[in-house]
Amino acid sequence: MSYAYLFKYIIIGDTGVGKSCLLLQFTDKRFQPVHDLTIGVEFGARMITIDGKQIKLQIWDTAGQESFRSITRSYYRGAAGALLVYDITRRDTFNHLTTWLEDARQHSNSNMVIMLIGNKSDLEARRDVKKEEGEAFAREHGLIFMETSAKTAANVEEAFINTAKEIYQKIQDGVFDINNEANGIKIGPQHSPSPSLPSSSGGGAQGSGCC
């Protein structure tokens, strides 16, 4: 349970691109072919190790439906990383990326690490969006890119872990203010300078208007 850092992630993208399945594969290592529509925002967590440090990933899996957009938007804040997912077999999900990106940039802090993920790479036969297109989009917008398959688990671990690595690197570089929880990063209990006095940091957080 003890961790050095806690990173908050958010998974966004059109409905049906496989956001919940990615999360399920990452946290539970299983795949559910029939998955109910996500109503609202769901939540998953897993420990990973980067650079010998235990890092807890707290992942918000949002509903992709347009009608839930207002609810999910409120979750952008306080996320250190975002997985922007599209479905390689559906071009419209790729076309909507710009909207999603704008949304994310607008509602989150500017340092948020965004990874572009082309999911369902196992359905090569039905591919509608070329890998090169995804790469080009990512290059253009300064994102990390990866194609994954929640079904076969290909690249799923890597997607989450690479994002964490990127965030970790940014912490090392001093880009993130780790004392501001609004950045989606929390220092673990054993790293806290005074764990017996959480009131002071709590007060600070309140003042800065966390969440």
């Binding site: 049906g16 109503i39 009131s199 957080a205 969440c211």
Partner: protein, 920 residues
């Protein structure tokens, strides 16, 4: 996809609560102006605007007491203590009073009130909006309309030693307060209309954490149970939000205006306003009542467990395992949850197995029930053609569901992947039988999935969850010999290992190495079994192994004598018996020779079989060897072997062998050894080896003189000229007097070549000897005749003429003879009578002649007796060289006398003879 809602089921039965006695709709609350409701500890508690508190127990009997003078505004029932905390007013104006009631102590007119205290923050009169009491009875919080929260610390049941303080102040009314205990920390959630705040009140300083800048309305807040991590649930029109003590949690987008939230078991019950599209106002007593929708959500499994409209819901209570909805019509509606089995059946009907499984799990359904679901799900997926999915489900049934049921379904070749997966799981769970192993391995081999096979078999340090022999067999059949070998080696199945090495991959060298690593008894057994093959392929090494097996495998050297004496019973344990392995060397005499030589060298008193075999080998070699050099060498070796005093070959067999192979030296040596001189002789004869015939006769004539006779007849029959030899033989026969001349002549007569000159000397000599003999005999005859005549004359004389006794002296005492005297006719002899009487044995015999007479008499008698001993006669006759003389001798003894004597009276005849002798 358009349905932005969870699946909907009907897992609750709705029922209007009826009076148990009258069976009428329960209406005792008909006229009660309800202000607050609470439940717990076996009763429903309702407060009203008249200051009364009503207690309804399971039997629906109603008890009431006056709690406040004016009204009851809030009630809080503790779960672990039978305490009721209430807020109400006793006097006009805003002056709320907290009262604590001990429901266990009922007095006249109501329960014991243990505490009364005022709830006025900072002396500002403001209505109370909410109340919460911590179960540890140490904390109590009251929220006010003016946005302040007052926290009481200390024993809740008493007024004294209580400290109260304001922990939160905002401008918006407080709508909900909840305690949450997390380890040692106690948090107080404060929900106002505009924010959600958590305050850690257990520290020295309150630690506040604003979780959200949106709030909730009165009634729209509830604490979830531990399944949902004891989160605070806040209802807002767009969604239901969850909060941890330190951060925001997930949210569920249930749209619509929500009036109340309630938590029952793992369900979230939401009372919402009905959609405007379905206005169904209910007329009741002239009043128009709005319809509310009560929806029961299963948060964990994500479905709607129940949803139905109720008229103007006042509150939702849960007690006695059911949910009670207090309607605006003052009726109490009971929602009874259906049992799990019923729910599952409903899900099965809709083929919603995934949900059924998670539901069953969350309801702590037992293992068998779950497996039943897995089976049904598997069957369902299978019938839909989703074999991959089906097998996943079937795998979960392993251990309970009969494996063959599943296997039969997937035996089709196209589903072999699924079958493999299932069988693998079966093995992993140690449920596999032999047949399963066979099947799995067959699958692997059919799929040509070597990696999997490797993993299955080659993984070291893994527990074996399959039948090894079966695995070996299948691997072998499928041609995966390496795997089979690995298994066999690992599990010590020597026989399998060797069979595969030898019969399948023909790695003889390795097989041999393997054998040499084995324990003695195993090694011996296996060498016996596979020795032939090994010998055929790797003779050198096999021979070496055998040598070791028969010698070095024995740790302690036992005295060699034991070995033979006990017929290997002692030595058997450690040392193989070489003769058992001889058959292995079939077709490889060279190795066998090597082996046997080694064995004999190391253990000189090996059993005769070894020697026999070696001998046979040598002989065989000699016969087939063409190189003369080598042949000589062989012959030398063979001779050595034969002459080796230690060699224990079987004489007869050796002889047979030598003869079969025509090994002259050996044959002769063996004859000699066996004292079969005749055979030696005959051998030479057969080979017409005159010199050796003579030699043999000379050499062994001492032991068996018959040799000469045979030699004679041999030479006699010879057509060739062999005079010298004949001469030699004859001289020997002559010297030793081995044959009567007549026979010699006869023998020689057969020979057409033997001329007179050869036998002349011999015959002459012989005849000379005969003549001499005849002359001698005649002389003796003559002498005897003369003697006989003399005796006859004497007798005649005695009979016819008188005898004059002129002796003057006594023949005994030698004194002058004087009367009375006795005279005998014999010499004549004369005695004094007294001398004769004292001296003679009887009175009819002359004492002087008696001894001589008796001797003669004895001879005669002996002759007569032995005459009857026919056996002896035959013996003598047979043994004697000259039978005639024996017969003659017996004539002399009067063999045929008896016949003449039978006619006469023998008794008298015999008795006469002493009488006559008296006068002789």
């Amino acid at each position: 996809m358009a349905f932005l809602q969870w699946r909907r089921f009907n897992f609750f039965d709705k029922e209007i609560l009826k009076d148990t006695e009258s069976d009428q709709v329960y209406d005792k609350l008909k006229d009660v102006n309800i202000s607050a409701c609470v439940s717990g500890r076996g009763q429903l508690i309702v407060g009203d605007h008249e200051g009364y508190v009503y207690l309804i127990n399971k039997q629906l009997s109603l008890n009431m007491f006056k709690a406040y003078e004016i009204r009851v505004s809030h009630l809080y029932q503790l779960k672990q203590h039978n305490l009721l905390v209430s807020i109400g007013e006793d006097e006009q104006g805003i002056n709320p009073l907290i009262k604590v009631w001990n429901l266990d102590k009922m007095e006249k007119g109501g329960p014991l009130c243990t505490r009364i205290s005022r709830a006025i923050p900072n002396n500002k009169a403001t209505p109370v909006t909410c109340l919460v009491v911590h179960e540890n009875l140490n904390w109590m919080a009251v929220g006010f309309e003016n946005g302040s929260v007052m926290l009481f610390k200390g024993d809740v049941t008493r007024d004294r030693h209580n400290k109260s303080r304001i922990v939160h102040e905002t401008s918006r009314p407080v709508t909900a307060l909840e305690f949450r205990t997390q380890g040692k920390n106690i948090f107080l959630f404060v929900v106002t209309e505009a924010s959600v705040v958590s305050i850690n009140i257990s520290g020295k300083q309150d630690a506040k954490n604003t979780l959200e800048q949106f709030g909730g309305k009165l009634g729209g807040v509830v604490m979830s149970d531990h399944n949902q991590d004891n989160q605070l649930v806040v209802a807002r029109p767009d969604a239901v939000y969850f909060y941890q003590s330190d951060s925001r949690g997930p949210c569920l987008a249930f749209e619509g205006e929500k009036l109340r939230l309630h938590w029952f078991r793992n369900y979230l019950i939401v009372v919402g306003k009905e959609d405007k599209t379905l206005p169904r106002p209910v007329q009741l007593g002239g009043q128009t009542m709005e319809m509310n929708i009560v929806t029961v959500y299963d948060i964990q499994n994500k479905f709607i467990a129940y949803s139905a409209p109720f008229p103007d819901v006042i509150d939702v209570l849960s007690e006695w395992g059911c949910v009670y909805i207090l309607g605006g019509d003052r009726k109490i509606y009971q929602l009874q949850e259906k049992d799990t089995q019923t729910k599952l059946e409903m899900l099965f009907k809709k083929n919603n197995y995934t949900l059924a499984i998670s539901l069953a799990k969350s309801q702590q359904y037992d293992q068998e029930g779950l497996i039943d679901i897995f089976t049904q799900y598997g069957d369902h997926l299978y019938s839909k053609g989703d074999h991959d999915g089906a097998i996943d489900q079937y795998i979960k049934t392993i251990g309970k569901l009969e494996a063959s049921y599943v296997i039969r379904k997937f035996l089709d070749a196209q589903r072999i992947h699924n079958l493999t997966k299932y069988l693998q799981a079966l093995h992993k769970q140690q449920q596999a039988t032999e047949e399963h192993t066979t099947l799995l391995l067959n699958c692997y081999t059919k799929l040509k999935d070597v990696n999997k096979l490797d993993e299955f078999i080659m993984t070291k340090d893994r527990e074996v969850d399959f039948d090894v022999e079966t695995a070996i067999r299948v691997c072998r059949q499928a041609g995966y010999f390496e795997h089979a070998l690995f298994l066999a080696e690992k599990h010590g199945k020597h026989e399998w290992y060797l069979r595969i090495q030898l019969e399948d991959i023909k790695q003889y060298q390795r097989a041999l190495q393997y054998i040499s690593k084995l324990e003695f008894s195993e090694a011996e057994k296996n060498v016996k079994r596979y020795g032939k093959v090994l010998m055929a392929e790797v003779p050198q090494e096999t021979t070496e192994l055998l040598k070791r097996l028969c010698t070095d495998y024995r740790p302690t050297d036992k005295p060699l004598v034991d070995q033979n004496m006990y017929d290997g019973t002692v030595g058997h344990i450690e040392k193989a018996q070489a003769e058992n392995f001889i058959h292995i060397f079939v077709n490889n005499s060279e190795r066998l020779t090597e082996f046997l030589e080694h064995m004999i060298r190391v253990q000189p008193n090996s059993p005769s079989l070894l020697y026999n075999s070696l001998l046979e080998l040598y002989l065989h070699d000699i016969v087939h060897e063409t190189d003369s050099m080598k042949k000589t060498e062989r012959v030398r070796k063979t001779e050595e072997l034969l002459k080796n005093p230690d060699a224990k070959y079987d004489l007869d067999q050796a002889m047979v062998l030598c003869q079969m192979n025509d090994f002259k030296v050996g044959i002769l040596y063996l004859y000699e050894k066996a004292h079969l001189y005749q055979q030696i002789l005959r051998y030479h004869m057969e080979h017409d080896d005159y010199v050796n015939v003579i030699e043999t006769c000379k050499k062994f004539g001492q032991q068996d003189s018959n040799l000469w006779v045979q030699a004679l007849s041999y030479f006699a029959r010879k057509e060739d000229d062999c005079k010298p030899q004949l001469m030699e033989v004859l001289s020997q026969i002559d010297k030793k007097n081995l044959l009567p001349p007549l026979l010699v002549i006869q023998t020689l007569a057969h020979n057409s070549t033997a001329t007179l000159s050869v036998v002349k000397d011999y015959i002459i000599r012989r005849l000379q000897m005969e003549n001499d003999q005849i002359a001698e005999d005649e002389r003796l005859i003559k002498q005897y005749r003369e003697d006989t005549d003399k005796k006859r004359a004497q007798i005649e004389e005695l009979k016819t003429t008188a005898k004059v006794f002129q002796a003057s002296k006594c023949n005994i005492c030698n004194h002058p003879l004087e009367l009375p005297s006795v005279h005998f006719l014999c010499e004549p002899h004369s005695y004094h009578q007294h001398c004769f009487e004292s001296y003679a044995e009887n009175d009819s015999e002359c004492p002087v002649c008696a001894a001589e007479n008796r001797k003669i008499m004895d001879i005669i008698r002996a002759q007569e007796q032995s005459r009857d001993l026919h056996e002896q006669f035959h013996n003598q006759l047979q043994r004697s060289q000259d039978g005639f003389s024996v017969v003659a001798d017996y004539f002399g003894r009067g063999v045929f006398n008896k016949v003449t004597l039978i006619t006469d009276s023998p008794a008298r005849q015999t008795s006469k003879s002493p009488a006559t002798s008296r006068y002789v």
